[in-house]
């Protein structure tokens, strides 16, 4: 199958799967609502008022959208970062960006931002600021006169991540125990329905990050030959690295800002997709975007139904999946995971 045809087939199949999972998600939840009502509401024929409308259109649908977007963003960031560093263990949180964004949010919550609509945007702004600070720090630490050496980038990311994690721990240990619950809950990673306006901004940011990474997918393939190998074939490796870094950082920062820190998606989904569709990034990146949406959406649906009416943090579920998957990965494909 030729390239474009293959891409279309893979995307079609995964989009269908995402659709199915989304519909399934819409049908389940702690409030029992019949499928007939749900269909009516979604197609615009349903009651204009009432609890069911609020639950389906105001709670479940935005949450499903947030999950699909966040999952896709994290998976693409992970795939990009794995290609950039030629390291199978790379995942978005290694960039240090998510720790920085998390620190921003923790600061905001502790300083007790007042109530109101401003609050939600305020938290997002703090998270973004944190992400920018962390990402810039990593970039500045790692870039030398000539370029962005990959091993320094990894180290810088780890260091910056550790720094901000420690900062978070310090803040937590000093804060009033009453506020503690909220902060820790946020740090575990939870999906919540995002208002339409914020969802739009989130979507646009994710689209931009996606474009930054996907736009250079062909060159990313060549990076498998090593930076020098790719350069011999005509790739400007330094510019490519910078662009991929920016894209991955943007995607990660957006997710942490709008949704919260969620681990493992950026690690598991690219590997799983690679096993299914191969290493050609022109197919892998879109597959990761859709597959990530499927994965996180499924995890979140589990998280909010398994112990209803209470809710698990989705980060808990992804970690539970992550650890065994990782072991399987190491054992079955040791050495053959990545170029």
């Amino acid at each position: 199958m030729t390239g474009p045809a293959r891409l279309a087939a893979v995307c079609g199949g995964l989009a269908l799967l995402l659709g199915v999972v989304a519909v399934g998600s819409l049908l389940v939840g702690s409030a029992r609502i019949g499928p007939g009502v749900i269909v009516d509401l979604v197609t615009g024929r349903g009651p204009l008022e009432g609890a069911e409308r609020v639950v389906i259109l105001g709670i479940r649908l935005p949450r499903i959208a947030a999950a699909a977007l966040a999952g896709g963003a994290l998976a693409v960031a992970g795939a990009g970062f794995q290609a950039l560093t030629r390291n199978p263990l790379a995942e978005p949180s290694i960039l240090g960006v998510s720790a920085g964004a998390a620190f921003g949010v923790v600061l905001a919550q502790i300083s007790g931002l007042g109530q109101g609509v401003v609050e939600a945007l305020g938290l997002t702004a703090f998270a973004f600021a944190g992400a920018v600070v962390a990402g810039s720090a990593v970039y500045l630490i790692a870039s030398t006169g000539g370029g962005l050496p990959v091993h320094t980038l990894l180290l810088a990311g780890v260091i910056v991540g550790i720094f901000f994690s420690a900062a978070i721990t310090v803040v937590i240990s000093l804060v009033d125990t009453n506020r503690l619950g909220g902060v820790i809950h946020w740090l575990l990673g939870n999906l919540a329905p995002i208002p339409a306006g914020a969802l739009g901004v989130f979507g646009a940011t994710v689209a931009l990050g996606f474009w930054l990474v996907l736009g250079r997918a062909r060159a990313l393939n060549l990076l498998a030959l090593g930076e020098e190998g790719a350069q011999e074939l005509g790739v400007d490796a330094e510019r490519l690295k910078r662009r991929i870094f920016a894209g991955a950082a943007l995607l990660t920062g957006a997710v942490v800002a709008f949704v919260g820190p969620i681990g493992f998606v950026g690690l598991i989904v690219p590997h799983a997709m690679r096993m299914l569709v191969g290493s050609d990034h022109r197919v892998l990146i879109p597959a990761a975007a859709l597959g990530g949406g499927v994965f996180l959406l499924s995890a979140d649906t589990l998280a909010r139904t398994v112990v209803a009416p209470a809710e698990l943090s989705v980060g808990v579920i992804t970690s539970f999946c992550g650890a065994p998957f990782f072991i399987y990965l190491l054992r079955s494909r040791a050495g053959r995971v990545m170029p």
């Binding site: 007790g112 609509v117 939600a120 125990t177 909220g182 809950h185």
Partner: protein, 297 residues
């Protein structure tokens, strides 16, 4: 005196307001406009649940949390889940016309979500006995159970006064209250327990520390040489850490064997049972002032 004046003012407001809808000021000073007195309240705060039952307003309670375990009937009300992440879906399907929540215990994001869903939120943030009295009064106004509320506050005032009389003129021993043993968490400035200790005739050695319930090092606690140590238990198997303290034989409290355990649930909740907390503490701190018949009603 002031309570009834305030009640009068609120009544006036209520009468004036009912023509166009109800204007209510919650416990943090925010003003809410409700179309009518609330008939279906979801309480995200266990102490508020307790108060609503105590003032006789339990039929207005449409939903509670998993942690609302007192009185026993509260457990029969539909639950929306935990305090940190209540299920928004269930909350919405309960069709409440008011949600009562607190800034210390519920999350700001939850308030945000509720606001977006068009649900009015009545915020409470009590940190003193006086706040609890006002909260009882406020909830009484809100639900139209003013008489029930007055009865509760009057009873609380009476019993606090009784304790005061019993311990009047006695020297105040230094009391260390251990909310949580490891890390060591103690009541500081403005914490309810600090006030309870004072009302019970003791002097909290941690009353000058940070706001709320801060952490403290064991060394610092020992350095303040408490004469009475009260370890809070939180129900069913949570660590009290008694032996850790018994090993500190040089402490006055340990030497005179004044190391006690008390039920945290009555001490930490901003509800009508705080008087049980005061009475328990008073009996532990000043056993000589209270005979076995002391707390008969």
């Amino acid at each position: 005196m002031t309570t009834s004046l305030r009640a009068l003012a609120l009544c006036f407001l209520l009468v004036a307001g009912s023509a166009w809808g109800l204007e209510v000021v919650d416990q943090t000073g925010r003003t809410l406009t409700l179309p009518a007195p609330p008939r279906r309240i979801v309480s995200l705060v266990p102490s508020v649940t307790e108060i609503l039952f105590a003032i006789g307003a339990q039929e207005t309670l449409a939903g509670v949390t998993d942690f609302c375990d007192f009185p026993a009937d509260a457990k029969r009300k539909p639950s929306v889940g935990g305090m940190i992440s209540p299920s928004l879906e269930i909350l919405v399907t309960l069709k409440p016309d008011l949600v009562v929540a607190t800034r210390s215990g519920n999350r700001a994001e939850t308030f945000d979500q509720l606001k977006r869903l068009g649900l009015p939120i009545y915020l409470v943030d009590p940190s003193s006995v006086g706040d609890v009295m006002r909260l009882v009064g406020g909830l009484g106004e809100l639900t139209g159970h003013r008489d029930g509320a007055s009865a509760v506050t009057a009873d609380l005032e009476r019993r606090i006064k009784m304790v005061g009389e019993r311990i009047a003129g006695r020297p105040r021993p230094r009391v260390l209250y251990v909310l949580w043993p490891d890390p060591l968490i103690v009541p500081g400035r403005g914490a309810l327990v600090s006030e309870l200790i004072t009302l019970a005739g003791g002097e909290s050695v941690t009353a000058d520390l940070g706001a709320g319930y801060p952490r403290m090092s064991l060394e610092a606690a020992v350095g303040r040489a408490p004469e009475v140590i009260v370890l809070a238990s939180h129900g069913g198997g949570t660590p009290v850490g008694r032996d850790k303290w018994e090993r500190l034989e040089s402490l006055p409290a340990v030497k005179s064997k004044r190391l006690y355990t008390a039920d945290g649930n009555v001490m930490h909740r901003y509800g009508p049972r705080l008087i049980d907390g005061i009475e328990t503490l008073a009996r532990l701190i000043h056993p000589e002032a209270f005979g076995p018949e002391a707390f008969g009603k």
